[in-house]
């Protein structure tokens, strides 16, 4: 088994700390995404695992071997780079075989591996071409093929789809998913695109300023974001955040006051929050309801009609603004005055430090997010 364990990983460039103590346990065969905005350290973390960067502190173990100090080549990994990093003067076949032949692998074995990888990726008829004669998608396949022929225990993919156009990205995403199902090898995938992370991954590591903000299944991140950062980062349009005061709290509920309107939100049992400090109430745009009577009132500033749904940008009477998603046939127009209702069980509550209070979910959602080995599918 090749579980990947990272503990206490720190990485600084000079005085700048990029990774500030990362602990992760990745199980054999998992598809893991490192997700986060630019500068969060996700690529650096991947490069540390690849052995392209030296750690400042911490250890990395793959299976039973500690690989922290090993050179890249001895780590039993393969890496796919964002800009493919194909050798431009070698044809596709040589690009894939280059590393193998220099490590003394018999020619017949190399030929078999290249042939196999080419078949998996459907690039057999491109084997004699040079990279410059290939399209972006084909180059990406060759780059993946070069990783496959190594038959590594761990695939590292650094934003492999970000140089492709939108439609090709969707196709390649499905192919990567199929490839993972076929090879059943641990893959780590760095991306800033939450859709890629959500659709491809068994579990997602959300990174924020060099720390793990949350590590969990895609739907867990969506339904039970651990922090304000994760709640705001996952989901599009972004979750609406409203400042609220604590009116009272029980063992498994909290009563908030939103500009004078009170609202009791169920929790899954929480440690008491400091009632003197303001909390944040989060509600996803698709969960806010237009109603004849609600906790919020406001005026529609902008109505974006996307066909299947409308995105209504609403300026609240009490200040601030929210986005509401309605059905595409809803007649609401700009400058309409509306009332909004917050269904209590759909609300997220974050304490003054930005940590989420555990949400109480209905049985169906609970089952969906805690499903141990099911494929990750978007809601």
């Amino acid at each position: 088994m090749a579980d990947l364990r990272i503990s206490g990983l720190r990485k600084s460039f000079g005085a700048v700390g990029v990774l500030k103590g990362i602990d992760l346990e990745i199980r054999d065969g998992e598809f893991i995404s490192f997700l986060g905005p630019s500068g969060c350290g996700k690529s650096t973390l991947l490069r540390c695992i690849a052995g392209l960067e030296d750690l400042t502190d911490g250890t990395i173990t793959l299976g039973s071997r500690e690989i922290t100090g090993l050179p890249s080549a001895k780590r039993d990994i393969a890496m796919v780079f964002q800009n493919y990093a194909l050798y431009p003067h070698m044809n596709v076949r040589k690009n894939m075989a280059f590393g193998l032949s220099l490590n003394g692998m018999p020619a017949a074995e190399i030929e078999a591996r290249v042939k196999n990888a080419a078949e998996i990726l459907r690039i057999t008829d491109l084997l004699d071409r040079k990279p410059r004669q290939l399209s972006g998608g084909q180059r990406q396949r060759v780059a993946i093929g070069r990783a496959i022929v190594r038959q590594p225990q761990l695939f590292l993919l650094d934003e492999p789809l970000s140089n492709l156009d939108a439609s090709l990205r969707v196709t390649m995403r499905a192919e990567l998913s199929a490839l993972h199902d076929r090879l059943r090898v641990t893959m780590i995938y760095v991306t800033h695109d939450q859709v890629e992370a959500m659709t491809l991954s068994d579990r997602v590591v959300v990174l924020d300023k060099g720390r793990v903000a949350q590590f969990g299944r895609p739907l867990e991140l969506f339904h039970r974001p651990a922090t304000l950062f994760v709640a705001g980062f996952i989901g599009s349009p972004q979750m609406n955040f409203l400042t609220a005061k604590v009116e009272g709290q029980g063992a498994d509920s909290i009563t908030l006051s939103l500009n004078g309107v009170t609202l009791t939100i169920p929790t899954d049992g929480h440690h008491p929050v400091d009632p003197t400090r303001p909390v944040t109430l989060g509600i996803r745009p698709d969960r806010l309801e237009l109603a004849s009577e609600g906790q919020l009132s406001g005026t529609i500033r902008l109505a974006e009609r996307l066909g299947t749904e409308n995105h209504l940008h609403i300026d609240l009477a009490t200040g601030g603004s929210v986005v509401v998603i309605t059905d595409g046939t809803h007649p609401a127009r700009a400058r309409d005055k509306v009332q909004l209702r917050i269904p209590p069980s759909d609300a997220h509550v974050f304490d003054a430090e930005g940590k989420a209070l555990p949400r109480r979910l209905d049985a169906a959602t609970e089952a969906l997010i805690s499903e141990p080995d099911g494929p990750a599918e978007p809601a």
């Binding site: 890496m79 280059f98 193998l100 004669q133 399209s135």
Partner: protein, 306 residues
């Protein structure tokens, strides 16, 4: 009316574009093409600096090839020099460029230091080398004496003189080095990272990634080194004056002597044309055979789909 004017102005090409390119055109005609044609005409004449000029047809060329041992001797010296200088120049420039491409403290300082000889006047450089090579007072032989060996008479011994000139010429490799360094820095670092992950050893990275990626620059420096080797004059003229025993009597120096010592401009012009043809032929040959080993990034041969 206005339509008609527009049509007529379209028919009559305007003078403005010609005015804009005229500095180059004039320079090319007066300082490049003109002198070349003129020298070709000269080469067909018996053309003393003072006195009557006489058309002699190809006689200058005939004399050179059949009756002038000094022509062959000087050509031999030049070829020998080029054969040693060109590979050494490229190899050393490449090595220095690779060293300077390593990110360590002070690379800017070294880069400047290695390039410095290129901005110093050739004459000043030769004066320095004259002192370095001096048999009894030279820096080089003093250094050798510290090591316990007696240095040769660099400039006075026909066996050593050509080597002395090669070494002095290599002093100016900063330009070549700079071109190769720029080439090295344009190679994407991901290629090396990909190689590292695949376990490609460093020597193989140099051989199979660096050199192929650098091949257009290597070709360029190969050709420019070749040309400069054949035109070698300053250092030999000032350092050894062709001696001893004509061991450093370069082709270009023989041209110079014919023109300005023997005042036979026609013969000198004919020799210049022979040199031009030799350089042209060699350069074309290099270019022709370079297709096999030079890789150009932007070039697409054959049908790529997409």
């Amino acid at each position: 009316m206005s339509d008609a004017r527009r049509i007529s102005s379209r028919r009559r090409p305007s003078l403005a574009p010609w005015l804009f390119i005229s500095p180059w055109i004039l320079g090319f005609f007066f300082f490049t093409l003109g002198p070349m044609v003129f020298s070709l005409i000269m080469s067909l004449h018996d053309w003393p600096v003072v006195g009557e000029r006489k058309f002699v047809g190809l006689q200058n060329y005939q004399t050179m090839l059949t009756q002038d041992p000094m022509f062959w001797k000087s050509l031999g010296v030049t070829v020998k020099f080029a054969a040693i200088f060109v590979p050494l120049n490229i190899a050393l420039s490449f090595l220095l460029a690779v060293l300077l491409n390593v990110k360590v403290r002070g690379t800017a300082l070294f880069r400047t230091a290695f390039y410095l000889p290129c901005v110093i006047s050739g004459v000043a450089l030769v004066m320095i080398w004259k002192w370095i090579y001096s048999k009894d007072y030279g820096l080089l032989n003093y250094a050798l004496s510290l090591l316990g060996t007696e240095g040769p008479n660099w400039l006075g011994d026909p066996n050593w003189s050509i080597l002395a000139i090669i070494i002095a010429s290599l002093w100016g490799l900063g330009g070549t080095m700079l071109i190769l360094l720029a080439g090295l820095q344009s190679i994407p670092k991901e290629l090396y990272e990909a190689a590292r992950v695949s376990g490609v050893p460093a020597w193989a990275q140099t051989l199979f990634i660096t050199i192929p990626m650098l091949s257009p620059m290597l070709l360029f420096t190969f050709i420019t080194s070749l040309i400069s080797a054949f035109q070698q004059l300053t250092i030999a003229l000032l350092l050894t004056e062709g001696g001893p025993l004509k061991s450093t009597y370069f082709f270009a120096m023989y041209i110079y002597d014919n023109a300005f010592k023997f005042h036979d401009m026609g013969y000198a012009a004919a020799m210049s044309w022979v040199m031009f043809l030799i350089i042209l032929t060699l350069s074309l040959a290099v270019l022709k055979y370079s297709a096999a080993w030079v890789h150009y990034e932007g070039e697409v041969k054959g049908g790529g789909n997409g």
